[in-house]
C-alpha cells in the first residue's frame, strides 16, 4: 500500500502492521494536538527538513453566517484583518511578514475564513504574536475601512461583473441554494458592500472571531514544546465567545436543504461569444457516506482525458464542447454535483442541454465499471501525494478536516470510505442524483 509509505515518511508513524487489515487502520499522521481552556484547537506537525514553516488559521465563519444587508461581511472582514491592531500599526503586519521573507494571504468560503503564512523558522514568535493580536485587538480604522471598500468592489468586478465564468458560477449557486444560507454571494452584493458600516463589521467580528471558533495548524521546522508553549501564551488569555456557539446552533441543517421543485434553466446574457454552461444537482453535506461515491462518480464522468463526458462531447470528430468537466463540491451543510464547460461555436445550446441531461442518466448504466472505479482510486492516491507535498498542503489538509468534521483524524474514515466504494454504490448514487431537479445556467452574448 503506497499510501501507507507516504504517510510514514510524511509524519513518522509510530506503529505499522506489515499486513494491514485496512488502509485506515494502518496509518497514523503524527499530529500533536493542543486544546486551550478557551476552546481553541491547535495542531502541530514538526518537520525539520527545511528551516521554514506554514501556519494556517481556520475561523468557522463564512458566507452562510451572513444575513441580508451584510452579505460579503466575512470577506470584507478578511481584508480588514490585514489593516493593523493596537500593537501592530496600520499595514505593519504585511511588512513584518514579507520583511522576513515570508508570504501571507487569506481566503473566504461559504463556511470558513482562512489566514495563512509561510515563514522562515525564526519568525514563529512574531507571527503568533500578530495572529493572536489581530484576534484580540483588531483595529478597524474608519478611513482604512472605506479605502478597502473600494478594493473589495474592484475584486468583485474582476471576479464576476467582468468575468463571464464568475457570473456563471455565481448564478448557479444563487439559484441552487435560493432561500437557504448558501444562497448568497460570498463576496457580497454590491448594494451591501456600498452600505455596510464599520460598526456592522465590528459587531460581526466580535460575534465570530473568538478562540472557540478557531483551529490553528502549524507545520514545519518548529519545536513542539516551544510551539505549544507560545500558542498557549499568546492565545490562552483571549476569552471565548458564547455568542458564536449560539450563532452556529441557529443554523439548523434543514435550513440548508435546496428548495428546488423542478428543473430550472437560466439564460444569462454575458460577453461570451460561445455559450459557457453549468448544470448542477443538489447532493449531500460534507462527510455524508454517499459523498464518497459522488466524488468517484464526478471523476469517472469528468476528470482526465479518458473520462466519459470528454469522450462524449470534446475528443470527438465534431466536437460539441471545447472543454467539459464534472465536480462534486461538499460544503458543511449541503453539497452539489456540477458539470461545466464551454461550447464550440455553432452548436445548438438547447439541444446540447437536453442531450447532456439524458446522457448523464445513461452513463449510470454504461460508465460505472470496476476498472473505472479502480482508475479513480489510483488517481486519488497521486492527487493526495501532490496535496501533501508541502507544509502548507498538509496544514490545509488537517485544518479542513478539523473544521468540517470536528476531528483531523477523520481522514482515516475518509480513506476507508473511499476504499469501500463499490460499483453498486456509484450506480445507485448516479441514478439518484440525475433524477433530481437541476439548475442549468448558460452565459452567452446571444441571450436576450
Amino acid at each position: 500500500m503506497k499510501i501507507l509509505f507516504l504517510l510514514l515518511l510524511l509524519a513518522g508513524c509510530s506503529s505499522v502492521d506489515k499486513k494491514p487489515k485496512s488502509l485506515a487502520d494502518s496509518i497514523n499522521l503524527d499530529v500533536r494536538e493542543l486544546k486551550l481552556e478557551n476552546g481553541m484547537t491547535a495542531l502541530v506537525v514538526p518537520n525539520a527538513k527545511l528551516p521554514i514553516f506554514s501556519l494556517y488559521l481556520f475561523y468557522k465563519v463564512g458566507g452562510k453566517n451572513e444575513v441580508p444587508g451584510i452579505t460579503g461581511a466575512s470577506h470584507f472582514l478578511e481584508h480588514m484583518m490585514f489593516k493593523g491592531t493596537a500593537k501592530f500599526g496600520k499595514n505593519s503586519m504585511d511588512f513584518l511578514i514579507e520583511g522576513s521573507g515570508g508570504s501571507t494571504n487569506a481566503y473566504t468560503t461559504n463556511d470558513q475564513t482562512v489566514y495563512y503564512e509561510n515563514l522562515p523558522s525564526a519568525e514563529l514568535t512574531t507571527i503568533l504574536d500578530i495572529e493572536s493580536d489581530r484576534l484580540a485587538n483588531l483595529n478597524l480604522d474608519e478611513d482604512e475601512f472605506n479605502k478597502e471598500r473600494a478594493v473589495v468592489l474592484e475584486e468583485r468586478k474582476m471576479r464576476y461583473e467582468n468575468a463571464p465564468k464568475g457570473q456563471l458560477y455565481l448564478e448557479m449557486i444563487l439559484t441552487l441554494f435560493k432561500n437557504t444560507p448558501y444562497g448568497t454571494a460570498v463576496i457580497g452584493e454590491i448594494p451591501d458592500l456600498k452600505s455596510v458600516t464599520r460598526d456592522q463589521i465590528h459587531q460581526y467580528f466580535k460575534k465570530f472571531y473568538a478562540p472557540n471558533n478557531l483551529t490553528l495548524v502549524l507545520v514545519g521546522d518548529v519545536n513542539e514544546e516551544k510551539a505549544k508553549q507560545l500558542i498557549s501564551q499568546k492565545f490562552g488569555p483571549i476569552p471565548s465567545s458564547p455568542s458564536v456557539v449560539a450563532a452556529h446552533a441557529e443554523l439548523k441543517d434543514e435550513m440548508f436543504e435546496p428548495k428546488l421543485k423542478s428543473d430550472i434553466v437560466i439564460d444569462k446574457k454575458g460577453e461570451s461569444p460561445s455559450p459557457i454552461f453549468m448544470l448542477a444537482y443538489p447532493t449531500y453535506k460534507v462527510g455524508h457516506p454517499k459523498g464518497y461515491a459522488l466524488d468517484v462518480l464526478s471523476s469517472i464522468l469528468g476528470s482526465g482525458k479518458s473520462s466519459s463526458l470528454i469522450n462524449e462531447y470534446t475528443l470527438i470528430k465534431k466536437p460539441v464542447t471545447t472543454s467539459i468537466y464534472a465536480a462534486h463540491q461538499q460544503l458543511e451543510k449541503a453539497g452539489f454535483f456540477f458539470i461545466g464547460g464551454e461550447m464550440v461555436r455553432g452548436v445548438k445550446l438547447e439541444e446540447f442541454r437536453k442531450d447532456l441531461t439524458s446522457k448523464l442518466k445513461s452513463f449510470c448504466e454504461t460508465e460505472i465499471t470496476p476498472r473505472n472505479i479502480q482508475k479513480i482510486k489510483n488517481n486519488y492516491l497521486t492527487d493526495l501525494y501532490a496535496g501533501l507535498d508541502t507544509n502548507a498542503g498538509l496544514a490545509q489538509f488537517l485544518g479542513d478536516r478539523q473544521l468540517l468534521f470536528g476531528d483531523w483524524r477523520f481522514y482515516k474514515q475518509e480513506l476507508q470510505l473511499y476504499e469501500n466504494v463499490t460499483v453498486k454504490d456509484v450506480k445507485e448514487i448516479c441514478q439518484e442524483t440525475f433524477l433530481k431537479p437541476s439548475v442549468f445556467v448558460s452565459v452567452w452574448n446571444q441571450h436576450k
Binding site: 507516504l6 515518511l9 499595514n91 521573507g101 478594493v151 474592484e154 461583473e161 461570451s272 471545447t322 497521486t382
Partner: protein, 450 residues
Amino acid sequence: MKYLFLSLFFVAGVAEAKSTFLDSINRTKWGDLEVVWIEDSKFPRFTASIMFQDGAITDPVAGLTQATLDLFASGTSKENQRELSEFFDFYGANIKHTVTHEYSVMSVQALTKDITPVISKVCEIFKDARFPEDELNSYVSRSKSHLRNLVTSHSALADRIYRNLSLKNTAYDRPVEGTLLSFEKMTSTLLKERLDLLNRTKKVLYISGPPEIKAMKNILGKNCNWSNQNNAAVGTLKKPTEESVIYLAEVPGDANQAQIRIGRYLTLDEVKGKHDQFQFLSTFLGGGFTSKLVQELRVKRGLTYSAGAYVSMQRDYGRAGIITFSKNETTAEAISIIRDVFAEVGAGLVSKKEFEHQQNHLIGGYAFGFEETTAFLGQIMQYDHQGRDLKELVNFPQTIKNLTPTSLSQASYEVFPWERMTILVLGDKSLVKSLSRIRPVKIINYEDFL
C-alpha cells in the same frame, strides 16, 4: 535524503555548505542524453521532465510545437486516443507540457512502481505518434472556438495582446499557442515532422524521485530512439517596434474595469549578467503586498485589487512588465501612478528602509524555492537554459545582500524607461478621453490578435 543536505545548507554558513548544496544535484549521461537527477524519497513517485532545446521560434506555422505536444497522445499505429488516455489515466500518470519560443518541456509524473509501463508508453508514442486527421480536425475546431471565446477572460486576452504588441517585429512575436489563421494550416504531416525534429533536437532530462528511478535509463535507451543531432534553436534577433501610444483594445459589452499592461522587450545585452538584479527590481516593484506598486495603487489609493511586476529572462531575450487593472474612472490615474513610480525609483528616491525591507523579503524567502523538489529542478532547468552557473543560485542571498539603492535605481532606469514602454489598456472605448491625456491613444481590435 537530500532534503537533509538542503537543510544543512541553510543552517550552516554559505561558504561551508556550497559544495553540499551542489552535490545534491547529480549530473550524468545516459548514452547521448544529459541527465540531471535529484534524489527525493519523500513519496513513492517520480517526475521526469525532458527539455527540448527547441520551441515555437522555429515553428513553420504558428502554434505547431504546441499542437504537436497537445496532440502527443492522440494516436499511434497500435492505439487510438481513447486507449492511450485510458492507459495514462489508469496509472494516475500526469503528463504536462510547456512550450516557449526557446524551448519545450514535457513532464511525466507517476508512481515509482509504474516507471516501466509509463515511460515505455511515452517512448512508444515519441516513436510512433500518428496525429490522426480526425483528432487534428477536432483539435483545430476546439482551439479556434476557444480562442474566439478568450474575450471571456479579459486578463488572459490582455496578456495575449500585450505580448504580441511588445514583441512586434522581433523573432518572438508569433503566439506560441497559434492563431485562428495558423490552425487552418496544420496537417498531420507537419505535426509528425515536428515531433521527429524534437526527437532529434538536443535535449536534457531532469528527474526526481527515489533511487529506483534509475530504471528509466534502460527504458529510454531501448525505447525512445532519441538523438541530439540538432543544436539549440536560435531566433533571428531584431529590435521591436516601439510606438509612443496607448493601445486601447476595446471589448464588447459594458466593461466597468480595464486591464492594464505596461512593459517592454529586453535584448540579450540588456539582460546578460543582471538576472538577480532584475529579480530584485521586480520584487521591489510588484512582488508582494508590500511592494511599491501594491502600496501605491491598492493600499494608499484603493485603485486596484492587485498589481504585479516581472522581469522574465530567457536565453536570448527578456521581457519586463507591469500587470494590473482598475475601474474605468481611475484607469488613467493608475497608469500615471505607475509612471511616477518608475520615475521615483529610477531617480533613486527610495528610502533605505524600503530598500532593505525588500532585500530581506527576497533573501528570507530563498528557502521556499527548495520545498518541492520539482520546483528546485525547475530552477536548475532555467539556470541551465540561460547558461548560468548554479553557483549563482547558491550565492543568490549574498548577491541580493550586496545590492545597493543605486543598483536598484539603475536597474529601474534601464528596464522601465517610460518613453519606451508599450502600454496596453483593454476595456471600454469611453476610456479614450482620459487616456489621451497621458499619450495619444490608438484603438485596436482585439479580434486582430486571435
